[in-house]
Amino acid sequence: MHKEIRVLQAVRLKGRPQAGDIARSTDIPAESLDALLSRLVEDGLLSEARGRYKVTPEGKERLHELLEAERASIDTDALLSAYRDFEPFNSQFKQLMTDWQQIDENTPNDHSDADYDARVVQRLGELHDDFLPLVERIVSVVPRLAAYRDRFSSALAAAVDGDHSWLAHPLKDSYHTVWFEFHEELIGLAGLSRQAEAAAGRAE
């Protein structure tokens, strides 16, 4: 059941992922994941077409129930306090992403200045070091989120290694993608809606 919620949520957040994407998001080994995916398809909670999985309406209902049950079981005060501490990191991270893409408001970063790019990657490394203890804290409240630790670290390592698409590319498990999903998890766990958070300027 723990694995079921992880898989359903991963498929939901990724849109239409392949098994490999789901394995990375959930940190479930390939063999047991394949069996689980087959079962979820048999039960009508997932559908599969051309190797890509999708949550069915029944799956969405089931996921909703599982998430609600999880939410009822966690230490809500600890989660809300962690969500408040997430805010300043989120602002910093958004600024960093903006700096990555834009030299200034009218000048997109064409990535011709290697020093400029290296500084942004370096700043992401610093943010990551500061941010990781908060991830640990959140994982201790919601153990289901444990895979995020490695996902953040892997994206950073790949970016530092020189492949800068791991900073923000939306179709990779880039640092931005992982952040976006992690933020979505926190909003859900806090019982808030992204739309309300966006209107309040916290989650655009």
Binding site: K14, G15, T107, Q122
Partner: protein, 496 residues
Amino acid sequence: MTGIAHANVLVLDGSTGQPRETLGGKAWSIEQMRALDVPVPPAFVLTTQVCQEYYDGGQELPVHVWSAVPEAMSHLEHVTGRTFGTGDHPLLVSVRSGAATSMPGMMDTVLNLGMTDGVSQALAAQSGDPAYADDTRERFREQFEQVVGVAAPDDPWEQLRLAIIAVLDSWNSRRAVSYRRDRGISDDGGTAVTVQAMVFGNLDNRSGTGVLFTRNPLSGSAEPYGEWLPRGQGEDIVSGRSDALPLDDLASVMPGAYTDLMTAATKLEQHSRDVQDIEFTVESGTLWLLQTRSAKRSPEAIVRHAVQLQRQGLISVSEALDRIAPEHLETLLAPHIDPAALDTATTVATGKPACPGIATGTVVVDADEAQDRAEAGENVVLARPSTHPDDVAAMSMCQAVLTELGGSTSHAAVACREMGIPCIVGCGEGTVTGTAGQELTVDAAEGTVYKGRPTIVAGSEGEDPDIVQISTWLQEELGGDAAGSLAELLRIRSGQ
């Protein structure tokens, strides 16, 4: 100025004749400007040899180097008419690192060094602004402690000595060492230490600070472009304060300083053979240039400036073409809505441009449906209240993305920019999600959504004189057989 009695403590007067490897990037650039007789606040440098000697001697600042510093400081005092650490007109200095190539992890800069109780009072009296003096002092203390790693001592000479040592130590900071290792840069080069007099843009009504682009960095016109903030200091203008004035104001208030600025700008552009972005300060009517560098510009400006600089004889045809990337031309020639059609077009919504581009499609408000219809070959515009992670896969397949909430740093904006998908964010609640099923045209460069399909025209290669010139150059260089768009010809030329 000559007469500094030390081979490795050099006043930067334009005649040191030393290479970048010896002076470090920062001092080298000051030296270049001085050699052109451009007014730069006086400065001296401890060369990279000092750094080598420092490490050879077990991280001790050599006595003979330190004992040459007072004489170099007296040069700064002489030129500015100020005195270090004392007097009614106190001299404050900045201390900066400078290796031959800039690298992260090196000590960046300590400003306002030489600050004491007495100096703070003198600054307050001189500027008539005690709050400014307090603020400067506080900023100095914070910056010194953060950068040098110890609280700033009261003795200004000790401040200077500690800051110099901190620069030298930063050459071997963990980050600098790993940066050099990753890029195969030798550990032997060392950093120079540049000490420069601070000038004050907030001193009186004949003072201020500003930025000047030698040509317009947005439109690409040949006219200088810039801003000026009377009684502004340091970062005020760079950080984009809204009360900045156009440069014409400087021209009318202080025509002398303005003329000096234009003269210096022309010299720097001719010397560098590129458009410059210059930071300057006017202190009591006297112009000082703080920094110059090649200007970051819009794609259109890059293209037009390359043609202008060639026409003025500053660069060759080949260099002009080298400076233009195929992407720059593509942007300049990108499709846009026919101005004639705009008169009759109906605006459905407006928002913040997040990723430029223009596209027409049918509005779909559900990500799943959008993905299915886009996969089936339909042109889809995805309109969402705000974006969720599960929308991203659909976004990647759509012609354009619209959101009702969120700004230019929102997740949707970041994702669309990465994928180059036209995107407008923050259109307002209830605006675009109500248009499901309609055909709309999204002009994401302008941030406007139009009903239906107004006529879209491509930028014309045949009408713009700069484009015609580039086309002629490419034909001449590649020979008449080369075929393709200008961007393609540029790619052929550079062997891509």
